[in-house]
Amino acid sequence: MGMTLTEKILARKASKKEVQPGEIVTVEPTWVMSHDNSAAILLKFKKTGVKKVWNPKKIVIILDHTVPAPTAEYANNHKSIREFVKEQGIENFWDINTGICHQVMAEKGYDLPGAVIVGADSHTTTPGAFGAFAAGIGRSEVAAIWATGKIWLRVPESYEIIVNGRMPKGVFAKDLALHIIGNIRASGAVYKAVEFKGETIKNMTIASRMVLTNMSAEMGAKNGIIEADNKTEAYLKDRARKFYEIMHPDEDAEYEKRYEYDASDLVPKIAFPHTVDNVYDIEKAEGIEINQVFLGTCTNGRVEDLEIAAKILKGKKINPNVRMLVFPASWEIWKEADKRGILHILADAGAVIMNPGCGPCLGAHAGVLADGDKCLSTANRNFKGRMGNPNSEIYLGSPATAAVTALKGYISDPREVL
C-alpha cells in the first residue's frame, strides 16, 4: 500500500520500510525547538537528573514571545535560558534580536524537506510548508527529548486538501486558510496530518504556504504539510543547514478524507470573535468599527504581507480613531522591508513600527487592548482574552483587509482599493 507524505517521512526517520496510521514510532527528531518557555523546560530537564543534553546541536532555542523583556520575571527567564545555553553548549540559540520562532526556523535553514521537527509551541506545524513533518508537543516532552534524544509519535491518519483555481484579486492565503477552517471546523482534523495539494498551492509563494501550514493547528491537525518543489529549493539555497532529500507521497497513498476547494470563487474572509472557525465572507463584517489593527505574527508578518499593506496605504493616512501596530516577523524581514521603503510608507501613513517578535499576539507584551476595544488582527487566533483583555474582541483577516480597515476605521473589503 502506498504512503502519504507524512507516513513516508516518519517511516524513513524510524528506519522502517512502511508505517501505518495508528502505529507508534520512536524517532530522533531533526530539531527540537522551544522559545521563552525554555525557562520552564530547563527546570523540568534538571528534574530528570540528566546533566548534559543529548545533543546540543539539535536543540534550537529562539526568544520571541516577550522581547525585550517587559517585566523582571520575564527578564529572569531569559537570563536563565542564556545561562543554560552557555552551560550546555547549545549553538542554535537566537536571542531577542532575531524574530518569531516559526519564521526564524525557516530563515535560518532549519525547516527542511523530510525533516522531523517538534517544538513546544502549537504552531510548530509551520515547517510543513517545506515538506517537513512538524508538530507541537508539550513542555515535559521537550525536556524528555533534551534528556534522551527520543520521542514517540503516533502515525496520524492523513487528510488531503486539494485547492485548484486562480485566487481572485484581493484574496490571499489567509482568506483561503480561514475559509478551510470555517468549513472543516476547529476540531475537524484533530490529530490528523493535513496535506495541502493542487495548483493553487503550487502557485503560492513560500510565505503564503506557511500561512496554511501555520493555521493547520486551528483545525486541530497534528501537522500540516506541503510537498517541496523548486520554489522550496530556491528558498533553501543559501539557508539549508543540512543535506536534505525531497520526498513525495505515493500515487496510491491512502487518505482518510479528501476535501476539495476552488480558489477562483473565494472572497476575503473574516473570523469573528471568539473562535477561529467562526468564519464569514467579509460582507458580513463590513462597517464594524475597529480601534486597533495588528499586522504581524508568525501567520502574516512576512515581507509580502507588509508589502501589500504598504501598497494600500502609500501616500495615505490611517483613520485617526485607529492605532495600527506593525510587527515584522523577523529582523531579516524588518531589514528587507526597510530597504524597500515599506516600513517608511507604513510609518508615514501613521502606523507604529515595532520590533520583530510575537508582540500583542498572546497578550503578554506591548499593544494590549482596552476594555471594549475591537481589533482586526492578521494573527491565527482570536480566543477571548488572547490579546490580554477578555473584554475585547479580535477579528482575523488578511494583511490587505487589515490595511484597508486601518485606512477607513471600520472593517472594509480590500477588493475596493486593489
Partner: protein, 164 residues
C-alpha cells in the same frame, strides 16, 4: 483481574478532573477522590486497584491538564480502553505510564460495566472472563513499552540515569 467501568463518547477532561482543582496542589489520594467526580460520583468511592475503563470515542478531549490522567492512575486504573482518545490525552497517558488502548467500535461494544477483565499489556491481550472472549491488540512499541513499564517518562529517564 479488574472490573470494567463503562462510559460513552466525548468524555472531557473537565468531568474527569474538574478544572476548579487544576491549580491546587494535592496528594495522590486527594486527587483520586475527585476522579470522574462530575460524571460518575460512584467511581471514586468504589474503584479498586486493577480496574479498567472502557469508553467510546474521543475520551479525554478538552484541556491538556495531566491531572485528568494522573487522578485515574492513582485511583488504581490499570488501563483505559477506548474507541479513540483526544490527542493530548493520549500522549499524557503514555507519558504518565497509563496504558491507553484503542479498539474498534464493535469490540468496545462487547464490554459492559462490571465485566471481569484481564489486560496483558506486554502481549497485547484482553480477556473478558465474564463473557468469555479474548481480544488482541498490537503491543506497544519498544520505547513506549519501556515508558509504560517504568511508570512514566520522567521515571523512565530517572532509571536510565541511575543505571548509568
Amino acid at each position: 483481574m479488574g472490573r470494567v467501568w463503562r462510559y460513552g463518547d466525548d468524555v472531557n477532561t473537565d468531568v474527569i478532573f474538574p478544572g476548579k482543582y487544576t491549580y491546587k496542589i494535592m496528594s495522590d489520594e486527594e486527587m483520586a477522590s475527585h476522579a470522574l467526580e462530575d460524571l460518575d460520583p460512584s467511581f471514586a468511592k468504589n474503584v479498586k486497584v486493577g480496574d479498567i475503563i472502557v469508553a467510546g470515542k474521543n475520551w479525554g478531549y478538552g484541556s491538556s491538564r495531566e491531572q485528568a490522567v494522573k487522578c485515574l492512575k492513582v485511583a488504581g486504573i490499570k488501563a483505559i480502553i477506548a474507541e479513540s482518545f483526544a490527542r493530548i490525552y493520549y500522549r499524557n497517558c503514555i507519558n504518565l505510564g497509563l496504558p491507553a488502548i484503542t479498539l474498534k467500535h464493535d469490540d468496545i461494544e462487547k464490554f459492559d460495566a462490571n465485566d471481569e477483565v484481564d489486560v496483558d499489556i506486554e502481549n497485547g491481550i484482553i480477556v473478558n472472563r465474564t463473557k468469555n472472549f479474548e481480544i488482541h491488540f498490537p503491543p506497544f512499541e519498544g520505547y513506549v513499552m519501556d515508558i509504560i513499564k517504568a511508570g512514566g517518562i520522567i521515571e523512565y529517564i530517572h532509571r536510565q540515569v541511575s543505571s548509568q
